[in-house]
Each structure stands twice: as C-alpha cells, then as structure tokens.
Amino acid sequence: MLGILGKSISTGIVTTSYPAAPPDVSSHARGRPEIDWANWKDVRPAAAICPTGAISYQEANGQRLVQLDLARCVFCGLCAEVDKAIRMTNVCECAARRHEALIFIARYCLNDDGTHHRHLDGPTTPGASPLGNSPPAPAASLDSLGRQIEQRADQIFGRSLHIREVDAGSCNGCEVEIVGLNSPVYDVERFGIHFVASPRHADLLLVTGPVTRNMELALKKTYDATPDPRLVVAVGACGCSGGIFGVNYATRGAVDAVIPVDVYIPGCPPTPHALLHGILLAMGRLQRESGH
C-alpha cells in the first residue's frame, strides 16, 4: 500500500494542460493537410492516390471544381508525397459542427493538357462565406473556449457531462484513443466529463462508425434511450463520412445517415487531443441550443 502511494507521489502529475496550452504533438505527426489553393496546378495525382476520396474533382464548361473533404481524410499524407501544393501539418484539432464545414471547394480554369490554372475562387465551404487557408478552430481560441466551456458546463450540467460511447461499426482504432481520454494524461474528469455505462444516464453519445447494417437498429435504440437534451458526436473518418468502407451492402456509412449529429471529429483515428477538442465544441453547442 505504501509502495503504491510512493509510486503515485514519485510519478507526480502527468496530466496535459490542454486546452489551456496547445497540444503537445510531435513535429512528425500527420494532422490536417494544408493546400496552397492559389498555386495548385493539378489535382489529379492527389485525387488518384487518396484512398478514401477525400480529394476529388468535377469538370464542366472548361472549369474544374476541386474538393477536399476533411471528414473523409485519414491523414495518410500520400497526397502530400505526390503534390508539392499539399503539406501535412501536425494540427489535430479539426472538429466542426457541420459536415459542410469540413468540405473545402475551389474553382479553377481547366487547361487542355488536363492541368488547371488561374485560381477563380475558394476554398469555400458549402453555404458558408469564403475562408482562408486554415479553416477550423484555430488553437489560440481554445484556451478561452476551454474556459468558457467549463463555465457553461458548470451552469448546465452542474459540472458534469455524461458520455455514452457507442461503437456502431468501427475497427476499434477510435476506441483505442477514446479509452485514452480516461488516462491520467488526458483525464477528462477534470472537465466534469464521465463515461457512463447506460445511454439513459448520458448527455452525449460518442459514436464511431461506419454504421453497419447490423448495428443500425442498436444505434437508433441507444439514441432513443438517451434523454433530451442530448448531443451526438461522430468520431473518426468512418463516423464522419463512412471512411474507407463507404456505403455498401453491410454498412450505412456515416453516423448522420442514421441519427442527427451535432459535432464531427475527423481523424483516423482522432487523437485524444482531437477528441477533447470535439467534445468541448459539442458542449458549447448544447449551451447555445438550449437557449442560454
């Protein structure tokens, strides 16, 4: 017993100070890809090498619409290997409140040889005003976001948000990282967040996918069993978009094909930092929607 105590004391505090401080991530980590939209010459090699179709294009009337869908991206970095206009950053905080906010579209003039030139506009996200090169939640705002969230969570939930995790078809990669949220390094309980055993005790469903045909009903029932107000967070490339599995005879694809989703956390799998970012974002949304 004394030995156990001694070990705890000698180990000291290992908990990250995120979100007060930016995430402590290796410079080699692959996070959100950054594209030099203005000088991009040819989307085709990147689109061909992308395993999940996160980079795609359409052509019409001498123009080419190029699309990057972060919800599909598995952060493999293969596109950056074939295209100098793309660079992998180590930014892991990509969560957004709408799938459309993770989609970036740019328009170019098409050349005869198949390349494109003259950046016409973009990147824009559908239905939103044009954005700069670095779209979702800049890390600098997170400190204040984190503090706001803590205050709001305190008001609404009395310092507690209960999460029910639902694996609706994942490969278990997301689960490996979600389990990490309970580790002393991320320690979600410091935000008053608890993982609970039953959806009836939950405020938020953390759903990984793709939603399989065999889990569709279980997911719906779990959603129905969760009392209002409730939040749903779709986790990982598969949960956000169907990922590399897509829609097929055995899967329904993205979580939002089955139940409404409040926040999307891209990644394959999203790191604990990315998960934390998304969950905090979701808590902020709940506040707004519940009319405070």
Binding site: G3, N172, G173, V176, P184, R213, M215, Y249, C268, P269
Partner: protein, 534 residues
C-alpha cells in the same frame, strides 16, 4: 513435378503426400519455397487434412472460398494447413460446382474451423453438409438471401434496414436457471457483440456468442480498390493491430509479386510490430487490473501506453502506426533523433514496467481474483486451435515470429513464453514476458539497423497469382490470402484474424465462473470484434 525450389524442410512432407495420395492429386504447384498448393477433388478433403494432422502434426489454420466461376467455371475451396516444424504451408484446393453448391463439413474433426465454414456458407451460398451447427454466422439470421462474396453480387447493393431475428438462441432450462443477455452495446468503451449467459445461481452454465455486429463487407471492399489503397483498408481491419494487418497484407502482395522488402525496411517493420505489441500488452495488463478493481495499476499502465503512442507518432506520424506500411517496404525512415527517442522509450519503459508488474504481484487481492479464474485447459485449447496469447497460456508452443520468420525476425532469437495453466493470471503472465522480450528485440533491431533503401518497387502484379502473407500480431497469428486480378487489383482477399479462431474458447473458459468475473476473463483474451466480423 519439380520440387527443387520447395524448402528442404517442407520437401519430405510434399513427397510423402504425393506418394500417399498418388492418383488422387490432380496437380501440385509451389509458387514459393514454403507455400505449396495441391489441387484435387472434393472427396479428398477429409482424408487429406486428417492425414496431415496425424502424420505431420499440421494445423488447419483457415478455410475459405473463392469465386472462380469466371475462369474455371467453379468455386474453389481452400484448406490451408500450417506445418510449424517444417516452417511451411500446404494448401488443398478443391472445386465446388455451381450446379451442386455444397461441401462437406470438417468441423466435427477440426472444431477450430466451425465458424469459418459457416462464413463460406453465408458469404458464398455454398451449403454445408454434416456441420454440427450449420446456422448463420457472419450474416445475422434474418438477412435476405444474398451471397456477398459471389462475383455477381455488387458491393454497393443497398439492402433494406435489418428486421427480424438475429439469432435463435438455444434454450437452457432447469430449476433456478435463468438467462442474462448482454449487448450489443456494452457498458465499457468496447466493441459491440451479444453475449447470452445461462446461469444457475452465480456460476455460468453456458455462454452463447452472437457476433458479427460490425461486419463491414471488408473482404468484398478489397476487391474494389487498387492494390496500394488496399494497404490502408488492411490498417482498418482491427485498429489495435493496424500495422500487423497492413504488414500481413503487404507480405501477401510482395510474395505474389516475387519481391522482397529491403533489409532496412524489414527491420523497421519488426520494430513497429513490437511497438504495437508493447502498447497493447501494457494496456491489457492495466485493463485486467481495472476489471478486478485495481485501478491504480491501470492508471500507470495507461500512462505508459500513452508514452508509447507518442513515440509511435514521432516515428511514423500516427499514434497507431498507420500510414507507415506500404507495398515493398515502409514509407518513413527514422533519423538519429527519432532513433534516440526510440532508445529512450525502451530505457524508460524497463524500470517503469518492472515497477508496474511488482505492484500487481504485490497485491494479493488482485492475484486472488486472477488465479484459477477463466481456465482454458490445454486439451480444449488444442481442440479449438487456439492461437496467440491465449494459446501460449494454455500450452500451445507456437509463435510465427519463430516458426515462420517474417520481416526481420530471422535475425533474432524470439523467446516464446508457454504455460500450461491457462487461467487469467497466465494470460497476463504471457503478456508480461512478451513485453520484456519486445523491449529486448527492439534493442537488438535498433543496434543492427542496416543502411539502404526503404522500399522495393512492386510494380503491377500480374493477374491470377495467389499468395499467403502472415504476421504474428500481438494477439496472435494473422493471415492474408490473396488472388490477384487484372489491372493491379484483387480478385479475392481472405483475412484471418486470430480473434476468429479464439472466440469459441472464451465460451469454454467462462464455464463454471461467475458473471462478475466475465469482464476480466474476456479482457484476458481481448479479442477483436472488428477483426472477427470484418
């Protein structure tokens, strides 16, 4: 036939089989030194497998089908046998006519292939004859009559939402007997599956499993992707074994292409495989402690797991080692500072891990819950063909790293821990021993890291080549079998995760134990649902 390029270990077996079944073998092909295929008629299957088992101690590791109607006008069934002592694989290929789509079951003789035979029945519509329990397996009971792995079934077929019965469970009756259903959505952060416990008082009389809730059509999906993209799909078969599955897949493709990854890549692959083993074993050791309420030990284990995942990210860009594997080698080289981080990890983990183990060994209340709990007897394990950690804890002296050296394991001597007791404590002990061995292996690999290129050019693989790739993942042996198609694609990819083999053993190990011990028994196996269901 010419056996000159068959390995000297395997050749006597091939010669004996050729003599023994003379006149009944249509042909024999040996695409690789340790991979030989016999072609015969269906009526040879039972005798062939039984003979190899009795005379050569062969293990029937996987059974699967392949829709070859386009070329050969038949379905093919493959029976893959591993000859551990001869370090090779013998496969029997037999045709199944589309006019009489049925095949005889071997599950009475080889209990370990019970589920795999039913998978063939579900996914190819080939009817099992003489199977002890020929019910649906991969597709839940009330799925429509579809055969997804047939070539005339489109991957993108949209089926209506599932309705009806998933599984007709057996009734267990008697005074005081009641049944406890659990799942598919579980209480913890784990994958979905349904367990039906039949109990009399506290002890479990019978446990039925209903899995395949996360069947994602993965094997069919392989057939729709260009070969390089398939590596990314292989990483998503079982997330905790991302690198092992991707590497097993790469091995299969490289063997089909006749290419070997360069020396440096093979060593880097081995280090990554050991890192995957390390973080999973340490996480499991912690989780086993949590399931018997020793949470402090788990907190230390989770801290160490996080330490390893961060080094994984520093070395490969991804915490689960994703993106590192590629056909012909690996994608990223490690510079001096990255190798230093790896060395520091090993140096730091040794005393940390020792102190974690000492903490567990010093807790008599923890040991009391682990010892004699969830016993899997060696004879039961052998009958079910249990592999990996669970197999080694129940007397099965086997490890592909030693018996079928892949990656760079031919350059080291892997010590394989084997125990006969088969309880939770010994499944934990196998992990403890293997963590220490992994640390030693990483040291050895890092000390002898050859210079040179990272990948060999694989190019376009010609159509209709078959190849078997294997890797000893942290959980057990992983097999990927492929047949190539024109245009650098696959006609078939069979994935065999060790979990598929080991699930039935959990039903045996829990018998006579109490339900409150189920979580810890289950965790001591820690099987992958996704790897099983695919």
């Amino acid at each position: 036939m010419n056996l000159s390029h068959v390995s000297t270990d395997l050749r006597p077996v091939v010669e004996e089989i050729t003599r023994r079944f003379q006149g009944r073998l249509e042909s024999c092909v040996a695409p690789r030194a340790n991979e030989v295929y016999f072609h015969a008629r269906m009526d040879l299957v039972a005798g062939f497998c039984a003979h190899l088992y009795r005379k050569w101690n062969a293990r029937l590791v996987t059974v699967f089908a392949d829709d070859a109607r386009a070329g050969d006008e038949v379905f093919h069934l493959y029976y893959v046998l591993a000859l551990d002592a001869a370090h090779g694989f013998l496969s029997l290929r037999v045709p199944v006519s589309p006019e009489a789509p049925e095949f005889p079951s071997l599950a009475n003789a080889f209990a370990g292939i019970n589920w795999q035979e039913r998978e063939v029945q579900d996914l190819f519509g080939l009817k099992l004859v003489g199977h002890p329990n020929p019910r649906r397996c991969t597709l839940h009971d009330d799925w429509p009559e579809v055969y997804p792995l047939r070539k005339d079934f489109d991957l993108k077929t949209v089926l209506p939402p599932f309705q009806g019965e998933r599984h007709k469970f057996r009734k267990v009756e008697g005074e005081g007997v009641f049944q406890v259903p659990v799942g598919p959505v579980h209480a913890g952060i784990i994958e979905p599956g349904h367990f039906l416990f039949s109990v009399a008082g506290e002890p479990v009389l019978y446990l039925q499993l209903r899995l395949f809730y996360v069947h994602k059509g993965t094997e069919k999906r392989f057939e729709s992707l260009p070969l390089p993209h398939c590596v990314r799909l292989a990483e998503s078969i079982s997330g905790d074994s991302s690198f092992a599955h991707a590497t097993a897949f790469c091995h299969a493709v490289e063997r089909a292409a006749g290419v070997q990854a360069p020396a440096r890549a093979r060593v880097l692959r081995s280090v990554c495989l050991e890192l995957e083993r390390l973080y999973n074993h340490i996480a499991d050791i912690g989780a086993i402690c949590t399931d018997v309420a020793f949470v402090t030990a788990n907190m230390h284990a989770m801290r160490l797991k996080e330490r390893i995942l961060r080094v994984n990210e520093h070395l490969t860009g991804n915490r689960l080692l994703r993106g590192m594997a590629c056909l012909g080698g690996v994608r990223f080289d490690w510079d001096a500072s990255q190798l230093k981080a790896l060395a520091e990890l090993v140096t730091e983990l040794r005393p940390e891990f020792d102190s974690l183990v000492a903490m567990i060994d010093g807790s008599s209340s923890t040991l009391d819950r682990l010892e004699t709990t969830g016993v899997l007897k060696p004879e039961v394990a052998r009958d079910l063909g249990v592999v990996g950690i669970a197999g080694r804890a129940s007397g099965f002296d086997h490890d592909l790293r030693r018996d079928f050296p892949h990656a760079a394991y031919d350059q080291v001597k892997v010590k394989v821990p084997v125990y006969q007791v088969g309880d939770v404590k010994h499944r934990l002990q196998v992990r403890v021993d293997e963590v220490r061995e992994s640390l030693s292996l990483i040291d050895q690999f890092a000390a002898n890291l050859p210079e040179g290129p990272l990948r060999a050019e694989v190019g376009e693989v010609p159509a209709d080549r078959v190849a078997l790739g294997c890797v000893e993942g942290w959980r057990g042996e992983i097999f990927h079998w492929i047949r190539t198609a024109p245009g650098n694609r696959l006609a078939r990819c069979k994935v065999k995760d060790p979990s598929l083999q080991n699930w039935p053993a959990l039903s045996e190990a829990i018998l006579g134990n109490i339900i409150p011990d189920f979580p810890v028994v289950n965790k001591s196996f820690n099987l992958s649902y996704s790897g099983t269901d695919r």
